[in-house]
Symmetry: D2
Subunit: 275 residues, 4 copies
């Protein structure tokens, strides 16, 4: 994982202190890494910390020494008033599912109870922290009914339905400012990542992907993306290398789907703007 999390010129640890695509560059309220083990185990591992990623020796060790062909990594910038705690770190996991969120469900406190009230006991008990993101994940687990074997289509529709319900809750309580809904979910085989804003006049957070063979170029101190060759896929909120070729920008209110064979498709999310 080091090759992607630590080594690149604009790696996640660089983004934790100096991200390029945000108004404020700091994501210093903890980090998390989730990965599917190489050995036969369908459930992902999750290591989180409330420490900033940039100085974290455990993160360097973990990503340098643990191998995985399928992982999530996240650095957090806590929304105002949201406690910094391990329970609030992404990714969130349940069974074989792993979920993370880049963004903010604006006016969350207005519809927090509505979400809670609608959850099954099982989903309610999943929640250990108090962020909009974790609530969204609990909602997702309810939407898919905690099913263990979804088709890629079901996984995608499950995520879309989660967004629809969030929008519905927001409409219900009159939360009409923008919700930034960049979600990513995986079941270990398929990944679905969204770039979505509820307000047509606002931009969602950025999202990029890239397919190819990633080699770290020690001369350029950068990741080298030879697209067309190789079969790995990266989805990230900002390109990891300084050379931008190879990185595809995901359009607003679109989703990226990475299939088991690493084929990538992009499609418009069939959900109307809230306003």
């Amino acid at each position: 994982m080091n090759k992607l999390v630590i080594a690149p010129a604009n790696s996640l640890i660089v983004q934790s202190k100096e991200s390029k695509k945000r108004l404020l560059p700091v994501n210093g309220d903890g980090f998390g890494v989730g990965w599917y083990p190489l050995h036969d185990d369908p459930e992902p591992a999750r290591i989180v910390s409330i420490e900033p990623a940039w100085s974290n020796q455990n993160l360097i060790q973990l990503t340098s020494k643990v191998s995985s062909e399928h992982f999530f990594a996240h650095v957090r910038d806590a929304s105002k008033g949201m406690p910094v705690s391990q329970s609030n770190c992404h990714p969130f996991t349940s069974g074989r599912y792993m979920f993370m969120h880049n963004g903010r469900l604006d006016q969350f406190t207005k519809f927090k109870r509505n979400i809670l009230n609608g959850l099954s006991d099982k989903a309610f008990n999943l929640i250990k922290g108090n962020t909009d993101s974790e609530y969204a994940f609990a909602l997702f687990m309810d939407v898919i009914n905690f099913a263990e074997n979804l088709s890629p289509e079901q996984l995608k529709q499950g995520l879309y339905e989660t967004i629809k319900r969030i929008v519905a809750y927001r409409v219900e309580v009159g939360a009409n400012t923008n919700a930034f809904i960049n979600f990513a979910v995986s079941d270990g085989s398929t990944i679905v990542a969204t770039r979505f804003a509820t307000d047509q006049h606002k931009q969602p957070a950025s999202l990029f992907y890239c397919k190819g063979c990633f080699e770290y170029d020690h001369n350029k101190d950068d990741i080298l993306v030879e697209h067309g060759i190789g079969n790995n896929v990266i989805i990230c909120s900002e390109p990891l290398s300084e050379t931008s070729h190879g990185w595809q920008k995901v359009e607003r209110n679109h989703a990226v789907i990475v299939h088991e064979n690493n084929n990538v498709s992009v499609e418009k999310i069939p959900i109307p703007y809230q306003s």
Copy 2:
């Protein structure tokens, strides 16, 4: 505060590692200190940490250098499955109220949603963590309707009513194992502390109090309690000094009330056993 939190032979930091009155002696899942400032400020301060108290330099500094005539101190042993986070540390505060809990509301997950559903939005939004203790505090704040000026009687009745409602919720869902309800609440003037078990066949956690003039005895490396003289009051789950004279054991299902003039009264809590 040092004289009481750090210096005594069986001080809170000793209790964090080697408490005497519990099956397991360790309370290493964080600590908290809340105090009413000496200057004119009705709202208590709260410093908490997820680090064990026993080695904590900040705790030593804080209690040695900050003066207060009215404070709470707590070391936590997290119930199984309850996250260790600053949000889950005691004491909890709201306005002029400070609250802490020694014990466990058994089968909390069974009636957690019931409590939540009954809370006002204001009390709901108080909750930053996910412990039974913090839920009990939110319930208390609703019971007293967030009123700022309660008489000592109202404060006490508010705490009793909180216990009654907890018992009612438990009955509702069939939670019939013992709930350990040692609560302490203060408004800066009056303290009410309970020693309560819902099951008549189980013992609540221990509770003691002591009134007198506390001087640290450097020869004996212990706190010296000269009861009868002086006018300070300590309430604690275990005597702080090794010499037991001066410490009054609080009987089960009784409450200690400390009035503004440091007069102490003890009374039976007028709530029947749940079973």
Copy 3:
């Protein structure tokens, strides 16, 4: 302390995430507050944390509820390779002295052992961490021979002598890049703060001071400095208010001395450039 640490438009917690006068704006590797108690106690208190200051509830509580007329506050940006630990947080204290450092003793590893070898056992045992800053403080304590009652002149000369010795160690090992030596020391009565660079072609870190009556202006969401009136003094690496009037920039290789009566003097530090 809140009025100065938390409330201002460019407060320390703002500086922890978005400082204005540095190449990189983040100081997220912990914080520390040291203060002299209002009651009769010559030795300062010290609360430190490895958590970023910006989200820290303890810092808000502490500075809001503890009063002091003489305090230091620091946010840290760890030099590369320097561990983030409580031991490495500023301010450092010993007896009645409190010390902090904004800057970096370049090529520290080259002369670290030289400093160590020159320390008395008492100063050697002061060191709990491994930063250039703490080593400089240990050196200072040796320079003043751990004396408890220095005149303001002796305090100042002690700090200058510390700088001289650091420069001498650096010359000894050929460390010829710039050392950023913004030190601040207090004995509870007098404060001496330096703005010093060893290389005449490099700028030291910024330093400002201000004298007056500080009132928080709720309309402007800013600190209001009425200089000429009032008698308080602030020394800081960046002005705390957005309106710059009232703030005096300290020239390079000068020192600010604040006397017990809050008289301020500024003087050139009589130490030549290293190169």
Copy 4:
């Protein structure tokens, strides 16, 4: 690693709160896990935390999801006055070597500077914390001259020589109380673990080993050791299972050597008592 670190009846996380073989049962000042990756990488990984092991979700995740055939795990009880920091957590690593210590080099402050002064710059710069254990590791690295390929005999002799030098330093400064020297070192192939006390009238910390096939017995909620069958080796300060058969106690001032083929030998350490 879960099968050994988390699952056993007297697992490391149980020992963190309720160890059986110590005067005080708590080892709550952080933990560390070091492991050699299964893939081709001679250098161990190291994850450490200042949080108590007993409640740590990261530790559960790590040991459940990362596989290794060769690992160290440690829970710390900080000696009085030794800071709790990640730098002070065991195991310590350098290149392919991993090292940990159970015990205490009594009167360490007396000979700390002597050790420091004798270190090469390379070993000096290894040190990030301030414990006797880490100093011993730096000394070991100097003894073996940072060589990358030692024979098992050289590894063992290197550890013995390290002990000899520590004893010599202690004699030099008159540190004549007992030093508890239970060291464990590995180069990824061979493990050497000592049980040593410098004072013939004092007992060293406990040490056990066990060879066999370890299966977790869900009925007994315990680890099942079928010795004679299987070829795995555990060395630990306390037996991990409640049934004591299969566990070999290591005699005082003896060493256990585990060879690459998992053959185990035990021998007397050829170093005389200090007193």
